[in-house]
Symmetry: C2
Subunit: 423 residues, 2 copies
């Protein structure tokens, strides 16, 4: 009987601020980082997970991973992997740790990394990529992963089962299509705020040439700059490539409405993070004022209870689920079910460190077994840091092509850890 | 010119779970703890602050305090203390650290402890208790403490100034009355879920004898138990002592409505934390369904943006501000101004470790300089762990009597730190 033998952690930081990759209106100088963990069994295998951060504080995130060691080490591996819904509840509802959130911030994200590491191990043991493992579960097994606490006024277990059963029929056909054609992507590579106009134009051209149907530009620091940059991007991209913009929480509600109206001439695919990610009512007011421009958010939305309210309030029409913001795979399954219930498309946030590698599994699972659609959906793509992962994404022709290697896509090369370990 | 010389931290844990003090429906076995910091100057004085936690994870909270060292050490003390609004913005909007929230959870609470330590030092240097220091500032100085980002759709700087100017007239008279009569208190001492019926009845009797106009009982684990305990409490207290109940986030929305209706016969002062503290819309639905029973929440509400929405949505009618949940004194000043704008009474959460000592300053400042009223207001009181503080609260006759010692009330005895330092 195998047991978990150790929880090893690493503070890994890439010096991305040197090139202003990832620069936006609120985060001018990120150093893309991972609070990384390796959960080893005494059978010799391991699961890998991480929380993405942007530099300072990655050590705090690592301390939070360490605080979960007592929940895992010594525990039976098979029994744990067979009940990941139960493990999720145990970790999230730990009666003392929950005070540190509850269900938000550093402690919640740490639980997410541990949960995802468990899924990575399970997928490796079952010889499947995570998306295929999840899509092979029965509707009952899937709802068992979800904690419906605080959700039942919007989504009950029975309703979730109905959604999953309705999607059962076409699973095999969609899986085959996914393997053949891939999943739509869009790229944020051209649009970082720190890039000059020439670099912007060059990268827009390159995105179009590579077949991306959508790009995204950072906005929000200066409205005249935004108008100029959008004009350049629209000129290079032509009318048929969608252009989304992302304000990274820069505005208050009234300011957001005024600013977005100034950007209207450029046929925006969506406006992302116009204000505080906690402000459900603010997003609802903005969405109503700038309609029909869709409002998107999600990468900083702390948990499924917040997602529930964004959906209930009609405060977003594009849900940007993030692989490491919430408590891991299980909570993202809950979020996918909520989105399906409300008929809102999920366009996952990615980029950062390994977010593309991790989140594609969730979007592909959604397509095969939950929403059953890629309509109005695309996974964000940013072309950096993939080389540090054992199973980097395969994005070409403007699409994510499904990973085939077993696991959750979350394992870093040892050499990358050694090279970029901080401190 | 004095500079900050060191940020010292301590992981202090009191083994309160042994006696089930503090036990409730979601936290059956808390070990009341403080992630404690001492901010030393090279002039030899220091400010003290802490985050209250309930045990496991206090080490993570300490790691978050440590992550702020670089912002403070080496910095000019006078300039820092003269611009605590600016310091707040710098810490909360640190472009890398904010990713760990943003503005919520472990990192946000750590910023709160640092900010409060700075206020403690400033109050000591000015020879005033914090409440009196805050109440001596001009309206302009007070609004300069507040970051209105994300608030302006509900409260502008100009509106906040109007509120403060309107309260300027009666300041001296209210301060004199406060010093003479104290501030209303209510006690949670009788009501912990882990206490048996005899202990409940005995402590209710004692609370009435001590002059408390209100008590509070924990509920939410079992409805029959709740009815029995409320019957006992109401019998002992008689009809004139108010009885509030606290579910500590135990219920979903529908369940909350049904459960609260079952407790209606007992004339509840309020129902506290009926569901997730993130669920603004859920609280609004509950408040509407159980009216006229007031809904109360706040101790786990992560920041001023969430408070803003609770007020906008009519989701609470009693706001339970907490001294260490948000980013310190400055954010609580913002919250007091929001509450004043919406005409909602603030009844601060207290208990824990040092929360009574800390939060009384905010309520007293509110009375003297913001809302100008104690109507419908009371500060929670729990009679434990006060002996560990240099300036323990003075609660008698059912009222908090204002602290007169300089500082924010946040300094622990060295001997308590030594005795209860963890690990």
């Amino acid at each position: 009987m195998a047991r978990f033998a150790a929880l090893q952690t690493h503070d890994v930081r890439f010096p991305t601020s040197l090139a202003l990759d990832g620069s936006d209106a609120m985060h001018p100088d990120p150093d893309y980082s991972a609070a990384y963990l390796r959960l080893l069994t005494d059978a010799g295998d391991a699961g890998h997970g991480f929380v993405f951060t942007i530099g300072r504080g990655n050590d705090v995130q690592v301390a939070a991973l360490r605080a979960l060691e007592g929940h895992l080490v010594g525990r039976d591996v098979d029994a744990t992997l067979a009940d990941l819904g139960g493990v999720w509840r145990e970790l999230v509802h730990d009666s003392q740790l929950r005070w540190l959130g509850p269900e938000k911030g550093v402690m919640h994200m740490a639980i997410g990394a541990v949960v995802t590491a468990l899924w990575d191990l399970r997928a490796k043991r079952e010889g499947k990529p995570l998306w295929q493992l999840l899509a092979s579960l029965t509707p009952e097994e899937i709802v068992d992963l979800v904690d419906f606490r605080y959700l039942t006024d919007a989504l009950t277990r029975a309703e979730a089962l109905d959604i999953l059963r309705a999607a059962e029929a076409g699973r095999a056909e969609r899986e085959a299509r996914l393997l053949a054609e891939g999943y739509p992507a869009y790229t944020t590579t051209p649009g970082w705020l720190g890039y000059d106009d020439d670099k912007l134009a060059r990268l827009c051209r390159q995105a179009v040439d590579e077949g991306f149907p959508q790009i995204k530009l950072k906005v929000g620091a200066d409205v005249a700059d935004d108008v100029r940059r959008l004009r350049i991007a629209r000129a290079v991209c032509g009318p048929n490539v969608r252009i989304a913009v992302d304000a990274n929480q820069r505005w208050d509600v009234g300011e957001a409405i005024r600013w977005i109206k100034a950007l209207r001439p450029f046929d925006l695919a969506w406006i992302e993070e116009p204000t505080s990610p906690d402000d459900v009512l603010g997003h609802a007011a903005i969405a109503s004022a700038v309609a029909p421009i869709p409002v998107a958010t999600g990468e900083h939305v702390a948990n499924r209870v917040m997602v529930k309210q964004f959906l209930q309030a009609g405060a977003l029409s594009v849900l940007q689920l993030d692989a490491t913001r919430v408590a891991g795979v299980n909570e993202n399954v809950a979020i996918l079910l909520l989105a399906a219930k409300f008929g809102v498309p999920v366009c996952p946030h990615a980029g950062g460190v390994g977010l593309c590698e991790a989140v594609q599994h969730l979007a592909m699972f959604d397509y095969v077994a939950v929403s059953g659609s890629t309509e109005g959906r695309a996974i964000e793509f940013v072309d950096h840091l993939h080389e540090h992962f054992i199973t980097p994404v395969d994005v070409h022709g403007g699409r994510y092509h499904p990973p085939k290697a077993p696991g959750a896509g979350t394992e870093l090369h040892r050499s990358s850890i050694v090279e970029y370990e901080y401190g």
